[in-house]
Amino acid sequence: MRRHLRTLAALAALLSAGAAACGSGGDDKGGGKDPGPSASGTLTVWLQVDAQTLWPKSVAAATADFNKKYPKVKVSVQYQAWADHLTKFDASAQAGKEPDVIELGNSETAQYVQAGAFTDLTAQRATFDGSAKWQKGLLDACTNAGRLFCVPYYGGTRAVVYRKDLFAAAGITGTPKTWTELRADIATLMAAHKDDKGFSAFFMPGQHPYGALPFVYDDGGKIASQGADGKWTSELSSPADVRGLKTWKSLVDAGMRGDRTGDDLGAVPALVAGKAAMSYSTNGQLVQVYSQDKGDPALKGKVGSFPMPSPTKPGSWTPPYLGGSVLAVTAKSRQQALAREWLRDFTSTAREKEFLAGGFLANTLDLTSADPERAGYFTGLENSWSVPAAKNWAQVEKNLTVKQMLADIATGRLSVEAATAKYGKQMEDTLNAS
C-alpha cells in the first residue's frame, strides 16, 4: 500500500507542479486569427530533452524569429523526459493547464490524435516549410482520416554501423552490397575471431524490433492491419512475416554471440570494445562510438555505415523503420495562432538543416547529408515504414509484446511460428482493447 500511496502522492505533486509550471498563459482568445504584434503573454512549449542536448541554439533561433513578429510574447520552453512526459501531459490537461505546443514520438501520437487532444492543422499545411515532401513515417503519425494533426519535427533511422579497422584486419575490402556478400563477411569475421567467445560479427540482440522488422517489410509483410470495421488483425503469423523473421533469425545465429535477450543499447559498448564488428544502429549511436564520454575518440574515422542489403531483392535494401518526433498544437491552447507561428519557425528549412547536422534526418526527404560516414542513412527512405497508427500501439510497445516475441525467437525458446502465434494474439488483444 505504501508504494501505491507514494505513486499517488507523486501524481498529485505532478498535478500541482503542472498547474504551477504552465500557468500565466496569455489570455488572447484569438483562436485561429493572427493576434498581431501587440500580442502578449506566454507561449508554453514542451520539447524533449534531446532538443536541449542536441540543438539548444536552434530552439533559441526559432524563438528569436518568433519574437521578431511578436516581441511581447514570452516563449517558455520546458524540457521533458521520455519516461513520463505523457503522464505529465495527462496531468496538465486534467488541471486545464496544457502546454500550447508539445513534442511526441511518432509512435505516441495515435491515442492523443484520436482523443481529440490536438488542433487540426490541415488548412495550414502548405504554410510549413518542406511540407510537400515530409517523411512518410512522420506524416503518417500525424494523419487521421485524412486530416493533419501535427507537424513532423525530425526523423531517425538505422543502418549497419561497422568498424572499418576490424573489416580490414579480417581482409575484407569495401562494404557488402548484397545479402550474400554480407553473410560471407560475417562468416569471415567470425572465423577471424573464433577464439573470442564474446565477439559478435553482427551485434543483433533479440529486443531490437527496428533491427528485426525491416526483414518482415522486406519480405512484403507488415505488423498489423486494420479492417473496415476498425478492428486490428495481427499479420505477424502471415507467411511473409514468418519468412522475414526466419531470415532475421539466421542473421542472429550467424553473427551474434552476445546476450540475445538484450536490446540495442548494448551496441555502442560492444563496438567500442571491439566485441562487435557491425550493428544495426542509429546515426546518434554511430557518433557515440568515437565520442569522448561514451566511446573512444581514437575510433574517429574508423567507423562507417552502409544500408542493410535486402535478402529477397539483390541490389536493393531492406526498408528501414522511420522513427522520430512530431509537434502538435494542443486543442485547448488559447493561443492557436501564436503556437502555429512558433511551430513554423522551429520547423523552418534553416532549423531542419541544423537537425540534420545534429545527426538526424530532416522532416523532409529533400534535405540529405553528403557526409560519407552517414552514407547508410539516406538509402531506401522512400520505402520507410512506421508502426501501426492504432490508438493502443503505445500500449503494445510498453507491454514489450514485440520485443518479447523477438527475444524468444532469438534465443530459440520458441520457434518463429509459435512465437508469432502467441504474441500476435497478445498484440491483437491490446490493439482492440477499448
Binding site: 508504494r3 505513486t7 502522492a9 491515442q111 546476450d259 535477450t261 503505445a394 510498453k398 518479447q404
Partner: protein, 313 residues
C-alpha cells in the same frame, strides 16, 4: 523496502505509574498530535480516498481530452474487468508465490543468523553485527544494481563462479525472479537477524538452565523456551515482511532495466504499468485498491499483535 525502521517493539514504560487524574479539557495532547495527524491526513488519507474514487471511474486519455474533460462514473466496471482478466490472476498468483518465498527465506535465514550469533565468540559476533548493519544500510537501488552486474550475461561473477557458459538469468522469469528474491532476502536478513538476536538476549538464563535440569535437550530448549518467548516478535516480523514483500517493485524494476516484461509483473508493477503506460488510471486504481484489501488481513494480524504488546507492558 527494508530500510524502514521497525515499529516500537515495546510500549512506553511510563504506564507503570498510575496516570494522574486528567482534566477533560486539556488540549495539549491534541495540539501535540495535530501536526502529524494533518500530515497523515494529507499524505495518506487523501490519496487513499482519491484512489478509491478513481477506481470507480473510467479515466483515460479519451476522457481527459474529451470536451467535458471529466471522468465518467462506471461503478464496479474496473473491478469486474480486472477480476475477469486472466492476466490479473496470474499476476496475483505470482505475487503471492514470490511473497511466500521471500518471507520464508528471509525469516529462516534471519533466524538462523540470530541463533548463530548467540553461539559465536564476541569478536565474531561484533563482526557479524557490523556486516549486517553495513548490508542493511545499502539502498536497494545500489544492491539491486550490484546483483545485476553479478548476473550479467558475458562477464558476471555468478556465471564465472558456476563455471557455466555465458548464461542469461532473465530469459526465464523463474530464474530472473529468483535473482530478485535473492536481492530482497539479502536486504531483509539484517533487520530480522538483529531484531531476533536482541529478542534472544531477553530469554532469562535461569529459564534455560531450569529446562536443562529437567532434561530438555537443545531441541527441547528451542521448542519450549526460545520459540514461545520470541513468538510475538516472530509474528510481527513475519507480518511486516509479508506487507513489504507483497509490494516488491524496485528490485524487479531495476533488474529488468525499467522495462520488465509481463512475466515479471507483480501487483505493484501491474498497477504502475496500467496507470503510467496504458494511461488507464481507473483500472490501475482498482488494482491498487485490491492490493490494499488483500493486505488488510495481514495488517489486522499485525495491529492486533502491536495492541497485545502494548497491553503486556
Amino acid at each position: 523496502m527494508t530500510t524502514i525502521a521497525p515499529p516500537r517493539s515495546s510500549g512506553p514504560a511510563s504506564d507503570a505509574q498510575a496516570p494522574p487524574a486528567r482534566r477533560r479539557t486539556d488540549p495539549t495532547p491534541y495540539l501535540l498530535i495535530a501536526p502529524s495527524l494533518l500530515v497523515l491526513l494529507g499524505v495518506l488519507a487523501y490519496p487513499l480516498v482519491k484512489v478509491v474514487i478513481l477506481s470507480t471511474q473510467k479515466w483515460g486519455v479519451a476522457q481527459i481530452f474529451s470536451a467535458s474533460g471529466a471522468p465518467s462514473f462506471v461503478g464496479a466496471d474496473n473491478y469486474t474487468e480486472l477480476l475477469g482478466d486472466s492476466e490479473f490472476w496470474s499476476v496475483l498468483e505470482r505475487t503471492v508465490l514470490l511473497t511466500v518465498a521471500m518471507v520464508g527465506l528471509s525469516m529462516g535465514i534471519g533466524f538462523a543468523v540470530a541463533l548463530l550469533m548467540r553461539r559465536v565468540p564476541a569478536w565474531c559476533r561484533r563482526g557479524m553485527t557490523f556486516a549486517l548493519v553495513m548490508a542493511w544500510s545499502v539502498p536497494t537501488f545500489i544492491s539491486t544494481e550490484i546483483f545485476r552486474w553479478m548476473t550479467e550475461y558475458n562477464s558476471g561473477v555468478v556465471n564465472w563462479a558456476l563455471g557455466t557458459q555465458p548464461h542469461n538469468w532473465y530469459t526465464d522469469s523463474t530464474q530472473g525472479l529468483a535473482v530478485a528474491t535473492a536481492v530482497v532476502v539479502w536486504g531483509a536478513v539484517p533487520l530480522i537477524a538483529i531484531t531476533l538476536y536482541a529478542g534472544l538476549l531477553q530469554i532469562p538464563a535461569e529459564l534455560v538452565e531450569a529446562a536443562r535440569m529437567d532434561g530438555a535437550g537443545a531441541w527441547g530448549v528451542f521448542r519450549h523456551i526460545t520459540l514461545p518467548v520470541l513468538r510475538s516478535l516472530l509474528l510481527m516480523l513475519t507480518t511486516l515482511s509479508v506487507i513489504w514483500d507483497f509490494q516488491v517493485f524496485n528490485q524487479i524494476w531495476i533488474l529488468r532495466n525499467g522495462a520488465p516484461s509481463s512475466d515479471y509483473y507483480t501487483l505493484g508493477i501491474y498497477a504502475y504499468v496500467k496507470a503510467y503506460a496504458a494511461h488507464d488510471y481507473g483500472l490501475a486504481s482498482a488494482a491498487a485498491v485490491l492490493t490494499v484489501v488483500a493486505l488488510l488481513g495481514v495488517m489486522v494480524v499485525y495491529l492486533r499483535q502491536i495492541a497485545k504488546i502494548g497491553e503486556l507492558s
